[in-house]
């Protein structure tokens, strides 16, 4: 990385750290913020919008973040922090995620098993990652929604050696707990222009996931390579911005979220920083069901440093497996996902949402050899008081 870009990146990280820390502190301290952050600061814009609304005989409403209870009042289930809550409202979420990867790729080119085994003693052939996520959101006041998410992760990776031996490694346990705040920024709506809402996402990932997971391999019980570890081992920041809009039966939204790793973990390395951008549109067919289509772009960097306990070569000095090299972890991918949201009748005053979303990559460029993604699937149940 050249020094100019490095300085820019450092500046960006510093800003993100300050903003995320402030937002989390605001949320955590329970300050009674009474209105969205930008309320009252958009005078000129509101004046012109107000005039336009009056000319059309419409009502312009500013600062209303409350979406009507409908299936599309939440974004696709695969998104996190897509909506905020009113003061005193809480939401419990159980979400299941499954990601399946099969075959290797370098750049945008597929690699055969033989291609990988030419340079490495072991080739990963497929990997399944499953995550059970238990989430909680609470409307602390009119501006801040607190969020918490505890993941339970299960990973399984199949391999084949040059000698034709096949083996599978597995790891499971709690991942990194994520705590954060969603901070309402600004919202406005009128019948002819629809509703438009903006909020800031700020979260901190705590290093609760195991980064010393071990498993049985042909070399004996060893520390598993990087993608089989359950956490990052670092404190991570997740700053982001979310927009959601709606008009009639259509809703849409966009979200940009970054992942910034603070320092190295106790094993001497750091996962790469990431960012992802999602844009979606949804259509409500009836009061209880809506469908969504989402494009998700994700870019993630190679790891920095290395864990000396992860074996890099076999006894003959041949590079062991691509997943043991921190320089072969980065990549970028564009996923296309289709989803359905269903709103169920209330039970004991509790609102129930079911969300299902699944998608496939339509583009992926990996610092390979690296396993390529085949599909991602989410299903989640949300209960709101």
């Amino acid at each position: 990385m050249d020094s100019g870009r490095e300085k820019l990146w450092f500046g960006f990280r510093t800003i993100c750290m300050s903003v995320v820390s402030s937002a989390v502190i605001i949320g955590g301290s329970g300050l009674a913020v009474e209105a969205a952050i930008l309320d009252g600061m958009m005078g000129g814009f509101e004046e012109s919008m107000g005039k336009r609304a009056q000319e059309k005989g419409e009502q312009l409403v500013i600062g209303d973040f409350y979406p009507a209870e409908s299936p599309d009042s939440h974004g696709p289930i695969g998104m996190m922090g897509d909506h905020t809550h009113n003061q005193g409202e809480f939401m419990f979420t159980y979400k299941y995620m499954r990601m399946f990867m099969e075959g290797n790729r370098d750049g945008t080119n597929n690699l055969s098993k033989a291609d990988v085994l030419r340079d490495f003693f072991v080739a990963p052939t497929e990997m399944t990652t499953q995550m059970h996520m238990f989430g909680f959101m609470y409307g602390l006041n009119q501006t801040v929604t607190l969020t918490a998410m505890i993941p339970y992760v299960l990973k399984s990776m199949d391999h084949e050696t040059r000698t034709g031996v096949k083996f599978t490694t597995k790891s499971s346990g709690f991942g990194d707990i994520r705590l954060g705040s969603l901070v309402r920024l600004y919202a406005f709506e009128a019948p002819s222009i629809g509703s438009h809402r903006f909020h800031f996402n700020a979260a901190v990932g705590l290093p609760t996931g195991d980064i010393k997971a071990t498993g049985a391999t042909p070399l004996g019980v060893t520390r598993l390579p990087y993608p089989m570890q359950l956490g990052s081992g670092t404190v991570d920041l997740f700053p982001g911005l979310t927009y959601s809009g709606g008009l009639g039966r259509a809703t849409w939204g966009a979200q940009a979220i970054g992942t910034i790793r603070l320092g190295d973990n106790s094993q001497g390395y750091a996962l790469g920083d990431e960012y992802e951008v999602s844009a979606y549109g949804a259509y409500r067919w009836a009061d209880w069901i809506s469908n969504s289509l989402r494009l998700k772009w994700k870019d993630w960097a190679d790891y920095e440093g290395r864990d000396p306990n992860i074996t890099r070569t076999n006894p003959a000095g041949v590079p062991l497996v691509p997943t043991a090299l921190t320089g072969l972890r980065g990549g970028e991918r564009l996923d296309l996902l289709v989803g359905v949201n269903i709103l169920f009748p209330e039970v004991m005053g509790l609102e129930n949402h079911l969300g299902i979303e699944g998608g496939v990559p339509i583009y992926q460029n990996l610092d390979g050899p690296q396993l390529e993604s085949d599909y991602t699937f989410f299903v989640g149940w949300q209960i709101i008081n």
């Binding site: 009474e34 009502q59 312009l60 009113n86 003061q87």
Partner: protein, 267 residues
Amino acid sequence: MRKVLSYACLATLIFIGWVTMAQAYDVAEVRDGATITGRVTFSGKPPEPLQFEVEKNLEVCGHQRSLEKVEALNGLLKGAVVILEGVESGKPFAKQDFQGKAPGKGTFQYVGGETLGLRVNTENCNFGPFTGVLTPDEAVRFGNKDSIKHVLHTFVALDTRGNVLRTLHNRDIQPDGSFDRVFDSGKLKDSRLIRMTCNRHDFMQNWLYVVKNPYFAISDEKGQFVIDNIPPGHYTLRAWHPVLGLQEQEVHVLPGKALGTDFAFSG
């Protein structure tokens, strides 16, 4: 330099305190209080009541509800808020109760005394009458006697016709729950119009006018209003209805006298 700054800060604080005190209403004995009585009339055809198919909590709210925004019978308008502006000291706030339109049983209860003491008692999916008043910087207690949750959403109107609204509060009122909310004068700015809705039940709509003294009345089913015990003086008398707008007239009340005046709205 530091000394000058200290004096400047002190002077600012004294000024702010003086301004704040100057704007507050003081309860004081009224001698030779005057009375203003009158009627609020309406000419034309009032808009048809809005009809709503209830979508949520039918067991509590019923299957259908209507909202009559302009209640006029034989040319007499109910629910107009009549306010006497500019009285800075005088009688205490009166204790008053106003019932929402059936089948709702919600009430606006004014506890009275040194302050207005508005209590919004929500019952049968009804906050209370279509119009009411509140005072700035004083806690309003919102209660919910229903077995279901309501989502209280209040807005301040940024224009005179209530076409540009800004959210003030947006909060769930749990079954049998209550909480206090202050309508901060800083956020109201110069606006006097507050809209109140329930985000879950769109037929629950009410309007409140921001008053700064107890000299107000709400016209009854005969369109009549009475404001009594007024300190003699020159004031502005306003009549406001959320749909029909605002009218005002200058009045001069004489010690111990009764003044009759009417307001006429048209549709």
